[in-house]
């Protein structure tokens, strides 16, 4: 494959020769591993950890390849590359996940060396998308564009990517390890439900530092991360994280899979004890070796320099006129367009949640169309959100109407971003070998119930999140309404939780009652929403009403008086 370079102004890290050499060597190594597996020189027990280190799982229907999209940022040539892979080696569609990655679900083992080579040609890979290592670092999809941003989190996400990639000491941790970072006090990266969550901020002197949360996570034992430090200076970031990982590597439980995540060490082993251990290790290793060199930070910052914005007035007459003249555009704009820090620009969310469609899925043709539109309207760059949508971060307001027409023509103009039908679902039992129940069909039924645009707007901010098993890839614990699929003697049932919230002051949802069969679960969601609309006071979101009236009325509505 011929190497392809990103467009000049795309906000992605540019690989250097060392990066490319490493990746090509890794592809060659993997090619040899696959050849030895197919010849029988390696057994499945020997090969499985090797394929997992390269993001290749075996799922219900075939192999699944999970491709890393570092902090969700894609240059358009990379998105086109993914489209090509989908066409040639999968079934012309992919699935964006809650970790800002892309999964192909119909991969053949014998094709994977070529796929890895194709990925390497566009500075991509699938390394560390599985296994007990540090996974893809995730961040705010509006990084570098949001008016409320204090620090651009992509710079530090990239530093952490480089630090954590094939880090020899952290390749065999007790369990997987996920890091999220935000640079805004309005957390859009759900940092408190990650093993480490970083809030980048500035002190009064303008210096950059980080509040560090540790021990967040969902799954069988959900916890919000505990703040272990309110300020770690920029130069100490790597040393401090190294200390956290070392303490986890030493004291994390390897004897019990269900107690192996760092959240158990922090919350059940004692928060202060954990902090003391981290601080002791930090004090021991702090010094030149681990100091984050400002020159390195500066070099990485250059990859994320603002694109050459035009000097524009903050108000776009063309945008305003289009909204007045086209009601459908106005509805889309209300939900999909958000303010940008540069006057005359906006950020656009492309919903991958068509009513009755498959959450997070996108066809190869649609990938190509989004790439073309990003080249035309957003400096050759696309973002993936943890809510399974895409974002064009830097669009001129004057161009929004033309962009919308093109998106709508491609089936990408669903005007539901941020509304109740913009729900998260994991692939569930339709694809995943771990799942107990399907998630996507339940999500589709819920979408159909709430398809009416006016009703969606009337309901307002109410996030539904759904997982097909307790591993919680669909973040059900964080849904204002959460739905967990369970298996009861081979049949699907759904447990409902209320009150989850992924923001900085977040909460884990509480179970309302016994699990319900599929049709009753969808009815239950509608009943919950109806009760909220009936009982809410002016200005209240669903979570506000729930906090005021408590779980009781909802429980009674679903299960009758006790």
């Amino acid at each position: 494959m011929t190497y392809l370079a990103p467009k000049r102004h795309a906000g992605v890290y540019r690989y250097d020769e060392i990066d490319r050499q490493f990746l090509n060597e890794r592809v060659a190594e993997y090619r040899g591993q696959v050849a030895r597996r197919l010849s029988g020189a390696l057994t499945e027990d020997e090969f499985k950890p090797l394929r997992l280190m390269n993001g290749l799982y075996l799922q219900l229907h075939a192999y699944m390849l999970r491709i890393a999209i570092p902090y969700g940022a894609l240059a358009t040539h990379q998105l086109r590359g993914l489209a090509r892979i989908g066409r040639r080696w999968d079934k012309s569609y992919g699935h964006f996940t809650t970790r800002q990655n892309l999964q192909f679900h119909w991969i053949r083992l014998e094709d994977t060396p070529e796929i890895m080579a194709e990925l390497a040609a566009i500075d991509m890979h699938a390394i560390q998308t599985s296994g007990n290592c540090i996974r893809n670092v995730t961040t705010d999809q509006f990084a570098g564009a949001a008016p409320d941003e204090v620090v651009d989190p992509r710079v530090y996400a990239e530093i952490l990517r480089q630090w954590s990639t094939i880090h020899p000491e952290f390749t065999y941790l007790p369990r997987k390890f996920k890091i999220a970072i935000t640079g805004s006090a309005n957390d859009r990266a759900a940092i408190r439900v990650h093993d480490v969550g970083l809030l980048a901020k500035r002190n009064e002197a303008g210096e950059i530092g980080f509040a560090v949360y540790v021990g967040g996570g969902l799954g069988r034992t959900p916890y919000l991360g505990a703040k272990v430090s309110d300020w770690v200076g920029e130069q100490d970031l790597i040393a401090y994280l190294e200390a956290i990982l070392r303490v986890y590597n030493q004291f994390g439980r390897r004897d019990n899979l269900y107690k192996a995540r760092i959240k158990i060490l922090v919350h059940q082993g004692g928060k202060q004890k954990f902090i003391d251990n981290v601080e002791a290790e930090f004090a021991r290793i702090r010094g030149p070796k681990y100091r984050l060199d400002p020159a390195i930070v500066e070099a990485i910052e250059r990859n994320f320099a603002p694109p050459p914005f035009e000097e524009l007035p903050p108000f776009s007459e063309a945008f305003d006129r289009a909204k007045r003249e086209d009601a459908a555009f106005a509805v889309w704009a209300r939900n999909s367009v958000r303010d940008h820090r540069a006057p005359g620009y906006a950020s656009v969310t492309i919903s991958l949640k068509p009513i009755g469609g498959v959450t997070g899925d996108i066809t190869s043709d649609q990938m190509d169309i989004v790439a073309d539109l990003a080249d035309r309207y957003s400096f050759g760059e696309v973002r993936v959100t943890h809510e399974q949508n895409l974002v064009l971060a830097h669009v001129r307001q004057d161009d929004l109407f033309d962009l919308w027409k093109a998106l709508d023509a491609a089936g990408l103009g669903t005007p539901n971003a941020g509304l109740i039908t913009d729900l998260i679902t994991c692939p569930g039992l339709d694809y995943c070998s771990l799942a107990n129940a399907r998630s996507i069909p339940i999500g589709q039924e819920i979408q159909k119930r709430f398809a009416d645009q006016q009703r969606q707007h009337d309901i307002g901010d109410l996030k539904i999140k759904m997982s097909g098993c307790i591993n919680a890839c669909g973040h059900h614990h964080l849904g204002a309404i959460g739905i967990l699929g369970v298996d009861k003697k081979g049949e699907e049932f759904y447990q409902i939780t209320l009150g989850g919230n992924a923001e900085l002051d977040g909460a884990i949802g509480d179970i309302v009652g016994a699990a319900l069969p599929p049709d009753e679960a969808v009815d239950a969601v509608e009943s919950i929403v109806d009760l909220y609309l009936e009982r809410r006071q002016p200005g209240e979101r669903f979570l506000d009403t729930l906090a005021r009236i408590g779980m009781g009325p909802f429980k009674e509505k679903l299960y009758g008086a006790a």
Binding site: L58, H61, R108, D430, A435, R438
Partner: protein, 102 residues
């Protein structure tokens, strides 16, 4: 009497396959052999030889019934493996069936 079939994924491409009556691996669940509990244990041991021979991976037994001579899974998980995702019929083995009918 509880019946079981034996399933696995083919090594080279990951395709779902079932142990057939002749001891071969078949691509459609209807053609899978159904075993009683004792025979299933023996069949599972036989099937493990295909793992050693690097033909398939992840062999296991699951519950089935036989209706009009066709083997059918009893549980939702195995029904989905046998057909494909329930949310799109254009992919998976259900799509192969459509192709053949066309």
């Amino acid at each position: 009497m509880e019946l079981k079939a034996i399933t696995a994924n083919r090594l080279r491409d990951g395709a779902v396959v079932w142990l057939g009556p002749q001891g071969d691996w078949v691509e459609r669940v209807e053609l899978a052999a159904a075993f009683d509990d004792v025979a299933a244990k023996a069949a599972l041991a036989d099937a493990e030889r295909s793992v050693t021979a690097n033909v398939v991976v992840g062999v296991y037994a699951f519950e089935v019934e036989v209706v009009d001579g066709a083997t059918k899974p009893l549980r939702q998980r195995e029904r989905i493996r046998a057909q494909g995702p329930s949310i799109r019929t254009d992919v998976g083995k259900q799509a192969d069936a459509l192709d053949r009918a066309a």
